[in-house]
């Protein structure tokens, strides 16, 4: 253990932090073999520390990226100029599962589509940051570093007196400001949760409490005359102005999308289309965080903002382009292959783990449906120290930064650092086991 580290005092109190986590119900639910299990989301007390200089670049790059993505979403559903100008092929947009024709022509309040964006990055061993994935639908995870900071400050106040770490406890007020910015008719602000069997239910309830908004379940909300109402006590109707929904598009409205959904609010889409309610994040964002569209994000930055992209993508190949196809087929054993439609670390395959027979199968899959796959170079990430008993071990990790967009676009000076338990694994995702760390951004 490094006793001279800025977090050394905190490590002495790590058991106390974990006890508090347990008491506060910091959990993560997963479905395994068809049954729902809630488990403690293991917290590692050693923070990821990001220097002030690194953060300056990262935060500028993140804000830039999200502004371009928001511009792209508005363009795709209105003028489609980026397609007409040949920057993004039409096929990538209109055969994306995330593209919703029902959203054509709709511009949400304040022109914001992605209010809360979770951008996943990794740091390579030479210190370079790479964006791995944009999450623009309902990215989860902000509550974990938020509560972790709260608890670590409680058990080890001296740590934060000594180390000049940017406070991250303003997340709820950033979130609240976004909700206020897009609120229609000063209505009620709600966090809509599908219920307690959702993997991120802890987060839904915690964020609602911290932001001072109502935690609503689907049955609490209804739409009448294309206006959205919350059923209060004694059936008192209260107009809802913004829904921070934690339910995916296809289940949000059985009248427009999946007919069998019981989680949604019938006719909420009509209310949204009329501009009578803001939906956070907006409908149809999946078209911009598709793993195939990812390739084009640096081009979007240039196209919409006229700026050079500050952040880099991981080197990516799209088999739909002949040169990339040939490269992928020839170099499969050294690449990582991703199914564009999957999320949560599913559908990720490493060429180096495959048998010759399996490699041929994957080549055949790519040949049969090149649009479905992307390939990337494997990046050697920096390993982070993880506590293992009283010593430390090195593990792979990633970093999800949160960018909040209302009238302005702001980057939260913290984020979720996730790490793998399995020393051999390169896939870092809470759905696949693993734990999390706080992320400290240094003030200077």
């Amino acid at each position: 253990m490094t006793d001279d580290s800025i977090y050394a005092k905190l490590l002495l109190q790590r058991d106390a932090v974990n006890k508090w986590m347990e008491r506060c119900g910091v959990r993560f639910g997963i479905y395994k073999n068809g049954s729902f299990k809630e488990q403690i989301f293991p917290f590692d007390a050693i923070p990821r520390v990001i220097s002030a200089a690194d953060w300056q670049t990262l935060s500028r790059g993140l804000a830039q990226r999200v502004m371009a993505l928001n511009a792209f979403l508005k363009d795709v559903y209105t003028k489609r100029s980026i397609i007409r100008d040949g920057i993004v092929p039409a096929d990538f947009v209109f055969s994306s599962k995330g593209y919703l024709p029902q959203c054509e022509g709709i511009i949400p309040p304040a022109d914001v589509f992605s209010h809360i964006s979770g951008i996943d990055l990794v740091q390579a061993d030479d210190g370079t940051w790479f964006v791995l994935e944009d999450n623009l639908r309902v990215p989860s995870g902000a509550s974990y570093p938020l509560i972790a900071r709260d608890l670590t400050r409680k058990v080890s106040p001296e740590t934060f007196a000594d180390a000049s770490v940017l406070d991250n406890r303003d997340y709820a007020s950033l979130l609240r400001r976004v909700l206020d910015d897009v609120n229609v008719s000063s209505g009620l602000e709600v966090v809509l949760t599908p219920g307690r069997y959702n993997s991120a239910f802890f987060e839904h309830s915690y964020l609602a409490e911290k932001a001072g908004v109502v935690l609503a379940f689907p049955d609490d909300i209804f739409v009448e005359d294309d206006l959205v109402y919350y059923k209060g006590l004694l059936n008192k109707k209260e107009r809802v102005g913004v829904i921070y929904r934690r339910i995916s598009d296809e289940f949000m409205d059985p009248m427009t999308f999946e007919k069998s959904s019981l989680l949604g609010i019938p006719n909420v889409f009509s209310a949204y289309r009329k501009g009578n309610v803001a939906i956070v994040n907006a409908f149809g964002n999946g078209v911009a965080d598709d793993k195939g569209i990812y390739y084009f994000v640096p081009k979007m930055v240039k196209y919409y903002l006229g700026e050079e992209p500050i952040l880099r993508n991981a080197p990516t190949y799209l088999p739909i382009f002949p040169d990339d196809y040939k490269y992928v087929i020839d170099n499969l054993p050294t690449l990582v292959i991703k199914d564009v439609a999957e999320a949560g670390g599913y559908g990720v395959m490493f060429g180096r783990d495959m048998s010759a027979e399996r490699l041929d199968q994957v080549r055949a899959m790519i040949k049969a449906d090149p649009r479905r796959w992307i390939a990337q170079e494997v990046i050697n990430f920096i390993d982070l120290d993880i506590m293992d008993g009283d010593s430390t071990v090195k593990r792979k990790s990633d970093f999800r930064a949160f960018v909040l967009s209302g009238k302005n676009t702001e980057v939260w000076p913290s984020g979720l650092t996730r790490f793998t338990r399995d020393p051999k694994s390169f896939v870092v995702n809470s759905s696949q086991g693993g734990g999390f760390k706080d992320t400290w951004v240094l003030a200077k």
Partner: protein, 266 residues
């Protein structure tokens, strides 16, 4: 040719037990297009409740409402007068009309049919006739063989279907032939239920065709909605709370009106 059509469409749903929190979305107001002018219409819902109206992304009118109180009967009546003409419909096709949708995913058989039809640009009317003939030679009309969730590929494989399936297969083939195509639904004179047909975009205009009846879908048709496939065009969707079975009775009547009908309502 100009034809005046009166329509009356009623649906009565009786629930076996009381239900509440009943939300509905109806697409039963005829669309306004150059080929179809809506002269008057009304929509009445029972039990009475506020009915909101909006136009969806595809251009269809959606009427929505919410019945919070307990009720065991739900009924609506749509009626109106429409003037149909031969005016060309030329609205620019959305790009999604050129791409497969969930119910119109292509199959190899559809590709080979599309390839066998020749070029649409030379003689669009002839091409649509060949398309309809090709679909009709592979599908026999048999109510009950398919459901509302049947895809174009499944219907073609089965070789049976109803108007929805004829339309889905035709839309999918037209898209494979490189033509934007959309699914249309509404009423047809002489048909006691709702009907589905197809519009194919050739040489700058939408050609309405009825693959089930092997003819152009003009004059005696009233279009309520169009979209990529059936799911974009639901004439009626509803969700309610309560454990009840429902008995649904629907009646559709479309008849030729005379000019006096139109004048009397101005």
């Amino acid at each position: 040719m100009v034809v005046l059509l009166r329509y009356s469409y009623t649906t009565l749903i009786t629930f076996s037990a009381k239900v509440s929190d009943h939300a509905f979305a109806l697409r039963c107001v005829p669309m306004q297009t150059p080929a179809q002018r809506l002269i008057w219409q009304h929509l009445t819902v029972l039990p009475a409740c506020p009915v909101a109206s909006s136009v969806d992304a595809f251009g269809s009118v959606v009427s929505t409402g919410f019945l919070g109180r307990r009720h065991s009967l739900f009924a609506y009546e749509a009626a109106g007068l429409v003037e149909t003409t031969d005016q060309p419909v030329t609205d620019a096709p959305f790009p999604f009309y050129s791409h497969p949708s969930p119910l119109t995913m292509p199959s190899p058989e559809m590709s080979s049919i599309a390839n066998s039809l020749g070029s649409p640009a030379d003689d669009p009317a002839l091409w649509t006739e060949r398309l309809m003939a090709a679909v009709a030679s592979r599908l026999s009309y048999s109510p009950g063989a398919t459901s509302v969730d049947t895809t174009a590929a499944q219907a073609l494989e089965l070789g049976q279907g109803v108007c929805q399936d004829f339309a889905h297969v035709s839309v999918a083939i037209a898209r494979l032939a490189g033509l934007p195509a959309r699914y249309a639904c509404g009423f047809m004179e002489g048909e006691g239920a709702s009907h589905a047909w197809v519009e194919v975009f050739i040489n700058g205009r939408w050609l309405p065709i009825d693959p089930t009846n092997q003819r152009p879908a003009v004059n005696s048709y009233i279009k309520l909605a169009h979209g990529r496939d059936f799911d974009d065009c639901s004439i009626s969707r509803g969700v309610f709370r309560g454990q009840a079975s429902q008995a649904v009775s629907v009646s559709v009547d479309v008849w030729k009106a005379n000019q006096a009908d139109a004048d009397s309502c101005h």
